[in-house]
Symmetry: C2
Subunit: 223 residues, 2 copies
DNA sequence: TGACATTAGTCACCAGTTGTGACTAATTCG
DNA sequence: CGAATTAGTCACAACTGGTGACTAATGTCA
């Protein structure tokens, strides 16, 4: 067996780091010299025996300059599609960066709106697409939207974030009613005046325990 | 680079194969001589460049004697927990076997009810647990329950399967109403008399297109 | 200064969905 | 025959979610 320190795993971890830029979802890409200046998702081949999530967090941290606000594994991919490393398999992660995070200076990283992603290695393209799907999917399972916002925010900002992530418009009254029922936020005593219009009250994320939502049977899959 | 034919991947694929046995979820374990007769999930180290799902299906096929009724990837695990192979990572899959599938003769495989699983390698235990969670989770996204039943079945049987998989009782009228709304089954002209009581009509799985269920906003996660 | 545009926040109604108990139907058993 | 058993349906009450219209508080500009 080779020397432990030098030994690298034979798989890569690839992270799709997302955030909101100008009311659009955007992904962080890097331009690596090793790849003839082509764009790609941040990735690495971890050392052995490191927990996968730790490695993924480190990759995100290095690319952003700060810790990611959220992280989840997508799964492993090993189709024939090519990957920058000649790795057998890649394990994809999705991650969120807080609103307004600039990529670290140096010019190697940049945000690209999802509607305008340049060419990246095919396997990474698949990871990115799955990542966006998983994110949408996790929206009603984890407080994803709050991770993107600053610690206090107006309800309109929160609603906009939900609309952005879900990709559809929500009705104001319905949104607030659902929020109320979920006991997820509490008002602060501050208000913010945003140019014209009535000032909005600021809220903070403050989840409280509740009965675990015993909903009925739903057979809603597209067969 | 080593010879291609002989080369094995440095990761394993581990499959949690589930079915219903006597109104309980059960998992298929095998006893391998290489592991001092301990029980474990079926697993293998695939050759390079094989699609993961294909390998997983082959593992299930070999363990069951027949093709699995359903298969889905859980994700990759690489915590410190031990695995029979000294592999860096394992990629877990869940799979379903049709109701009443006997394990192949030879005495190396057996079904164990989930309430009574013997000791298996820790990493596989984690895979099994995640698999059951994922299965429950996929219930309202894919026609999982139908895969376990024979091609025709009574609505009571279908309901029992749902109750088994979801782990909770359902009200008869609600269940049938939801089934109606989902256009998932159609009646055959056969009836089955099951001892005492009124005979039940047999149905078959026959999904039809419908509008893609535009449900409202739900903030239902346990924060 | 006062009408108006603009954004925040609330309300009440209606339509649809879901939980539930009670009902009818068809069979076996004694 | 009647009781027990299982299948299948119905109707009503309670709840949920979509929606338009309303009030509130601010800035803008004539």
């Amino acid at each position: 067996m080779p020397d432990r320190r030098a030994r690298r795993a034979s798989y890569t971890i690839d992270v799709a780091i997302l955030t909101a830029v100008k009311n659009q979802l955007a992904v962080l890409l890097r331009r690596s010299p090793e790849l003839r200046e082509k764009w790609s998702l941040p990735w690495d081949t971890p050392g052995v025996d490191e927990p996968l999530a730790t490695v993924a967090a480190k990759i995100a941290q290095d690319s952003l300059g700060i810790a990611p606000a959220w992280l989840d594994q997508i799964g492993a991919v090993a189709d024939g599609r090519r990957h920058p490393a000649e790795s057998e398999i890649s394990i994809g992660f999705v991650s969120l960066a807080p609103l307004g995070t600039p990529p670290p200076v140096g010019g190697n990283h940049a945000w690209f709106p999802l509607s305008d992603v340049p060419q990246i290695p095919p396997r990474q393209r698949a990871i990115l697409d799955s990542g966006v799907l998983l994110l949408r999917y996790r929206m009603d399972q984890a407080p994803v939207a709050f991770r993107l916002l600053p610690s206090t925010f107006t309800l309109s900002e929160l609603q906009q974030m939900y609309e952005l992530l879900l990709g559809k418009k929500l009705h104001k009254a319905s949104f607030r009613r659902a929020l109320q029922a979920a006991y997820l936020v509490e008002p602060t005593d501050e208000w913010r005046s945003e140019g014209r219009g009535r000032p909005a009250q600021l809220y903070r994320y403050a989840p409280r325990k509740r009965r675990p939502a015993q909903r009925g049977i739903r057979l809603d899959f597209v067969a």
